[in-house]
């Protein structure tokens, strides 16, 4: 159903995410089938010796065995990343854990948001870096962590910072980190299989032990399966990531009741968010825009700031002050400047 407000916008995107996630197992079957066809074409796997249709049917009948095997591999892969992810992310970004004492304002903002949703406060980390970005990490309770850059803390107002923390907290509440790790594992396995197919093509011109009279069509069809599966896996992963960003933006408004702060925070981050990190981490960033041009809309982990702002205006009833050029945004009647110290 079409979104008519914040909650329906969240529902629509959540439904979309489930459908997209369900696409991965389908793609996996797809690409394994492609691999089998190519292997059969090269003679590494036995054919029926009859027509092309029979060979393809035979390859399909193997899926009952190969697909469960692939899912076991995916499970093991997931288990390894499950335990390694936090350490890996810490090592790669140089994020420093901060306590209430050293950053009382920031910590209180996060803690208040967490309390309002009955959550244990995630670990708060700061990267001493001038870029404006933030991310949530952690796959399970006790491991959840919200990281912000020093530049973000210095540039944003209190309300904007709260909106950003609420955005990250929504990622935690929705377990988006886990979703995206699962997506990247599927995408990883699919791209490994696709690579096997393409490499196989380069190195095994000689063929295997058996000859298959349908070699050429089998290889071509298999290749097509592999290519389409590979491309779709990346597109679905990125689509999923973008969907989760919309939900997190909307969730931040739910938490703070202030769409304007989320919008102005996004406007400030726009074009100033560059932060290095591995792919698995970049998809978790508050904002992450590809450097290249062209198909970036399709292969971007995040929607453009403009699209996110548009969604907040349309569904959250916010107001867009337009791109930020430094300084303060013109105060709006609702933009209450709190000069009071934050109550503990």
């Amino acid at each position: 159903m079409a979104a008519v407000g914040l909650q329906t916008h969240i529902w629509a995107n959540n439904t979309r995410s489930v459908l997209l996630l369900a696409g991965f197992p389908v793609l996996m079957i797809f690409i394994i089938y492609g691999l089998q066809l190519v292997l059969m074409g090269f003679g590494f796997l036995p054919g029926t010796g009859r027509g092309l249709g029979d060979d393809m049917a035979l390859a399909a009948s193997w899926l009952g065995g190969t697909v469960p095997l692939a899912f076991v591999v995916a499970g093991i892969w997931f288990a390894i990343s499950y335990f390694g992810s936090q350490t890996m992310i810490d090592l790669m970004t140089g994020a420093r854990k901060v306590e209430r004492k050293s950053e009382p304002d920031l910590y209180n903002l996060l803690e208040n948001l967490a309390i309002s949703r009955g959550l244990r406060t995630p670990t708060l980390r700061v990267i001493d870096n001038d870029s404006l970005n933030a991310f949530a990490t952690g796959l399970h309770e006790g491991q959840y962590s919200v990281t912000v850059t020093r530049g973000l803390v210095n540039t944003l107002t209190r309300e904007e910072l709260e909106a950003v923390l609420a955005h990250e907290l929504t990622h935690v509440i929705n377990k988006d980190v886990r979703t995206m790790v699962i997506a990247s594992i599927f995408a990883g396995i699919i791209s490994v299989i696709a690579e096997l197919v393409f490499r196989g093509l380069l190195y095994s011109r000689g063929g295997g032990r058996r000859d298959n009279k349908n070699a050429m069509p089998l290889i071509l069809i298999g290749l097509a399966f592999a290519a389409v599966g590979f491309a779709l896996a990346i597109v679905i992963r990125m689509l999923l990531s973008r969907t989760r960003e919309y939900v997190a933006d909307a969730g931040a408004v739910e938490l703070t009741k202030n769409p304007d702060a989320m919008i102005s925070a996004l406007r400030k981050v726009e074009g100033r968010s560059s932060l290095k990190g591995p792919d698995e981490l970049q998809q978790l960033f508050l904002d992450n825009q590809p450097n290249g041009v062209g198909l970036e809309g399709l292969f971007a982990t995040h929607p453009s700031i403009q699209k996110r702002v548009d969604a907040l205006v349309r569904f959250g009833g916010g107001r867009d002050p337009g791109p930020w050029s430094g300084g303060a945004f013109a105060p709006t009647p609702l933009d209450y400047e709190t000069s009071t110290p934050v109550a503990g």
């Binding site: 159903m1 079409a2 008519v4 407000g5 914040l6 909650q7 329906t8 529902w11 408004v253 009741k257 202030n258 959250g316 009833g317 107001r319 709006t332 009647p333 609702l334 209450y336 709190t338 009071t340």
Partner: protein, 192 residues
């Protein structure tokens, strides 16, 4: 025969599924609107708590502005006694208007304007006003979403049967206040 039965069963299942889904969405949106009204209520209560103090402070400097002070006290009593959403909206708008008059009157008393207690109260009240505006906007958004979903097809066909027969009322700001807020939230004027 069997196929006809299966087809009918499938159709019934799909229809039930759609109805149950739509009903659950309505319940969730209804609940959400009620919850966001509670957020408004918290701010309203805080505002009501500050008013006796404010009236006392102003009395100390401008005791002969009896009419204005009484209007505020009465509006507060009415607001505290209101129970339904409509009554609350009306009473709170009255209170906002009378507070506006009180602050306008206070402009004529330099001693009052310099009183730290008065300044503190004024600052707290304006802070509450701002939070109230944000909570009200969120509430109106939630209400408009509920109303829109309620009127969507196929929900509109059975919404009345399950107790969602009418639209929820918005928290409309009073006419006087609307003029000062025209630059502000576009959604507020949405009283369709």
């Amino acid at each position: 025969m069997l196929t006809t039965l299966i087809v009918i069963a499938v159709i019934v299942a799909v229809v039930l599924f759609v109805i149950v889904g739509a009903y659950n969405r309505l319940v969730a949106l209804d609940q959400r609107a009620d919850q966001s009204f509670a957020d408004i209520d918290v701010q309203l209560k805080q505002r009501q708590d500050l008013i006796p103090n404010l009236v006392e402070t102003v009395k100390g400097y401008a005791s002969h502005e009896r009419a204005t002070l009484d209007a505020v006290t009465q509006a507060r009593a009415a607001a505290a006694g209101a129970t339904s959403v409509n009554d609350k909206v009306q009473a709170e708008n009255m209170l906002t208007a009378s507070l506006g008059r009180l602050f306008a009157v206070a402009e004529a008393y330099p001693d009052l304007k310099a009183n730290t207690n008065y300044l503190e109260l004024q600052r707290e009240l304006s802070d509450i006003e701002n939070k109230l505006a944000a909570a009200r906007r969120f509430f109106n958004n939630a209400v408009s979403e509920f109303n829109a979903v309620r009127r969507q097809f196929p929900t509109v066909l059975f919404a009345g049967m399950v107790g969602f027969g009418s639209d929820k009322p918005f928290f409309d700001v009073g006419e006087g206040e609307r003029a000062t807020m025209t630059a502000a939230p576009p959604k507020v004027s949405f009283s369709a």
